[in-house]
Amino acid sequence: MRLTFMATIALSVTGGICLIAQAFALSRIIRQVFLDHAALEEVSGLLLIVGLLVTLRALLGWGAHRTASEVAIRVKADLRKRLLVHLAALGPTYLLGERTGELVTTATTGIDALDPFFRDYLPALFNALLIPLAILLVVFPLDALTFIILLITAPLIPAFMMLIGMAAGALARQQYARLSHLSAHFLDVTQGLATLKLFNRSRYQITTIAHISDDFRSATMRVLRVAFVSAFALEMLATLSVAIVAVEIGLRLLHGGIPFEQALFLLVIAPEFYQPLRTLGAKFHAGTEASAAAERLFAVLAMPLPPRPARAVPIPDRLHLRFDNVTYRYPDSARPAVDQLSFEIHPGEHVALVGESGSGKSTTAALLLRFLAPDSGQITVSGVDLAQAIADQWRTRIAWVSQSPHLFQTTIADNIRLGRPAAPLEDVMEAARLAEAHEFIQALPQGYDTPCGERGLRLSGGQAQRIAIARAFLTDAPLLVLDEMTAFLDPQTEAAVQSGLRRLLQGRTALVITHRLHTIMQMDRIIVLHAGRVVEEGTHSQLMNQAGRYRALVEVFDPVTHAG
């Protein structure tokens, strides 16, 4: 990448040298025709050289452009990939705190904002240093006075630019920030249109939008009048410098102080001397915009990753799970979500995890799935520390049925295939049948090929959960982690989901988070969590007799089911 960037600089500087040569040839042609009265044929050789130089410059310009773009393209692709790998390593729990939309913006338009920096600003910066330097080197032996004028005025331009950057530029940026604020307001109103309408407030907004926009315009124009003055000064400086050079050499030419050809060359080259500096000025804010975008990106990349095992240990086949004094605290939370949590699940056992919201049930499941790593304590599988295993390998042993499974923007069949992408359709259908999902899928016009997700079919909660159960059947993993829905399902759907779940439990070890008495009563053992600790443990009847937290939970949570 560094090589490609250096190629950009080399190509641009060579282009600059060609430009100087072209100016020389052009001055010679004009001198020969004008003063020596040469005919067209006599200067045809020089004209050809100019033509060749122009062609060469065009090619070099093309090359410089291509290489500069290449650097930008590669940097962007690279950063995107790094961001995604990093996010995957941070895991889904990190995403809960971040807004998905914001992260997507960072990965797409945020990274795109770096484009002008690498493609335009950096090359312009080097050009602004090197090309004027090359011209100065050529001018110095030709004419000392012009050399001095160029040398004195050149630093004034970057100096002016920095002044603009600090003073008027800051004002202009503030105004541009207000402009994006205004766009945000307009978007806000548009997105809230239905809400405004509900309250009969939508028509009133027409005048508001007009007012705000107009106020903004007059305020901005006041600022811009000042901001543009500095740009005006900059432009003036460059143009006047050319004029000074022109007048200065013109007057000396008059007294024979300088030969005509050299004078003309200086006149041709003078604007080219200032051009790279002016280009840099124009690209200046590309630099500042990119740094704002980069800040957000690097903040995510700087998030520390959970430690990876140095040497991966294989996981035993026998699933004897143990939580040993496991503690986990979320980074922005005061108290641990699970606190010195200890319990075990024997092979083939079905365990229910109950407790009010915030008691640590979901965190326990996330720790088991290795979405999170314990702050202290150990989770073991038949004596092997889970932290020493490769996470993805461990997860192939788990069938996870979440409360709100995500349906990807692909067909229903591919959604069921999530854990086994190569599974044949017969297997998919068999899994769907076992999950009691086959019937409703078949009833869809496109059957298993029906697209899901944002732009596809919206499944109801009960249907989505059955797809998740079908996923679990298809992967056929020995450990089931189930987070049961709390939603109301109509009786038929409820019955279908329940019979699918019953079938899924058979022959598997299971950890089930649930609020439904119906499900709880089918479990071998119930663990009651409170504030991240196990407070009660036993079968339904044992716990009901204790008249403790479990009994209170059953009574408050689900009076209807309880009554049944």
């Binding site: 042609i29 004009i30 025709v33 003063l35 005919a39 100019v50 033509g51 410059r57 310009g61 290449e70 393209i73 692709a77 995107r80 995604l84 790998v85 996010l87 895991g91 889904p92 998905t100 992260l103 997507v104 766009s183 978007l187 806000d188 109103v189 548009t190 809230g192 809400t195 509900l198 309250f199 027409i206 926009s213 107009d214 315009r217 811009l224 740009a231 005006f232 432009e235 003036m236 143009t239 004029a243 013109g250 008059l254 005509f260 604007p271 009010e356 799935l369 390998q393 997860r395 192939t396 996870w400 995500h406 990807f408 923007q409 909660g461 996923r471 939603a487 399902l489 009076p559 049944g564």
Partner: protein
Amino acid sequence: MPAKTLRRLLGLLRPFWRGMALAAVLSVLTIAASVGLMATSAWMISKAGLRPSIAELGVSVVAVRFFGIARGGFRYLERLVAHDTTFRLLADLRVQFYRAIEPLAPARLSRYTSGDLLARVVDDVDALQNIYLRAVAPPLVAVLTGGLLTLLFSAFDGLVALTALLCLGTAALATTLLAWNLGRRTGQILTQQRAQLNAELVDSLQGMADWIAFGQTDRRLEALNQQIDSIAAHERRFARLDGLQAALAILFANGVMLAVLIVAIPRVEGIFLATLALATLAAYEAILPLAQAATYLSASLESASRLFDLADQTPAVTDPLSPAAFPARFDLVIHDLTFGYSADAPHLFRDLNLTLPHGQFAAILGESGVGKSTLAHVLVRFYDYAAGHIEIGGTELRLLREEDARRIFSVMSQRTHLFHTTIRENIRIARPDAPDEAVEAAARAAQIHEFIAGLPDGYETYVGEDGARVSGGERQRIALARALLRDTPILILDEATAHLDPATERAVFDTIAHTCQGRTVLIFTHQVRLLDAVDAVYMLANGVLHPLKREKPDSEAAS
């Protein structure tokens, strides 16, 4: 089709033609000053080469200085005028666009509900503000500058002038055509690819827990990497074209100069050669922006046609020609209501019936997606109903003015938007003239007053973009406070307490039951909790309402 869009788009620009014309003229004057500067300098040097008396150079020295200063001055004025015009145009575009979509919301905008899509539409409006500066002005400036240069050169020699005109014209045309044909296509593909990556990223990030849990991390990342590489490949194609334009600019600018020189050498006095060469180079500045103009124009046309498509839809609901008077009673009777989102969509309701005397407290249960929110939207006239009757105190809902219908129902909807302003103003949207005490009373009833009072800025706290700074439960309770503040005869709560813990939920229910005495309250929910508090329970399934037992719901049917 593009021609029609273009005509319509230019129609939008018409009120601003004075400002635009002035900016274009100033732009031409700026380039003319550059040309003047280089032409007079070259002439002065050439003249000085003949060693005349200093007096003969006097005029040209003054001219060089004049053009040097004039260029900066014209540029300054041009930028002021162009920006002012652009801001005026943007304000006008926004108002016009809003006016066009206001009657369409939300029924005709349902495709855009995901926010991101709507943001893209709003970006389209913003994109149109550049159409003058970047797409309309450049060709205008190029033509005017070319004409002026030809006029200037014809003072020296007709053939030279013709050469300059033809060469500049060819360069302009070639640049534009190249940009139009290639750039448009690659640009479109790139836009599509970016949108696709965007969609994939949203999908992948939202579903991250699922693919990670199923051990698909590497596979998913590999698929995303492929997408990223494919975007990079398209960007490369685009960059190739961009580079070609940069190369052609060098080639054409100097090529035109060379052609002018070759024609001029045998025909024009030698003293003018430098003038002609440098003036041509300076004038090429007018051709350069054409490379981007075509790209901008095609992008603007695309934005415009998307916006026109959106704005041209007919509203789902319009006010009746002779509206009925505002009803005096508010018993709600729905009789044989049949409704589907469109003629060919399956019916969500089929002969749905409901009788709700004024003052009742009722609940409608139903699985998510079964049509509970739709029913609320039909009642507030977001959608029209084709078959069946909805009567309020004996008056057919369809015969009421839209805004009158919304004075009867107050809905706390699932997708309430929070505006980027203070909590107080967000609640007050329901009743702009409500005193602070009323706002706070509503917040108390929604069990959110204590939370708000505990914030450092209290009711003056900004909620962030679409309520980014409040949690799901807080958002719901703010929305609930809004609905409660609005004192309408019928209150509909659509999944009002879904994010609340049981204790808060219970408290909310109790206050609603208490404060809404004398109002009809209709609760839509998919959870079977707290139904002991309501007068009647219905289950919505298969397009009809089934009455469930009152007092204690039938456990057989509900569990």
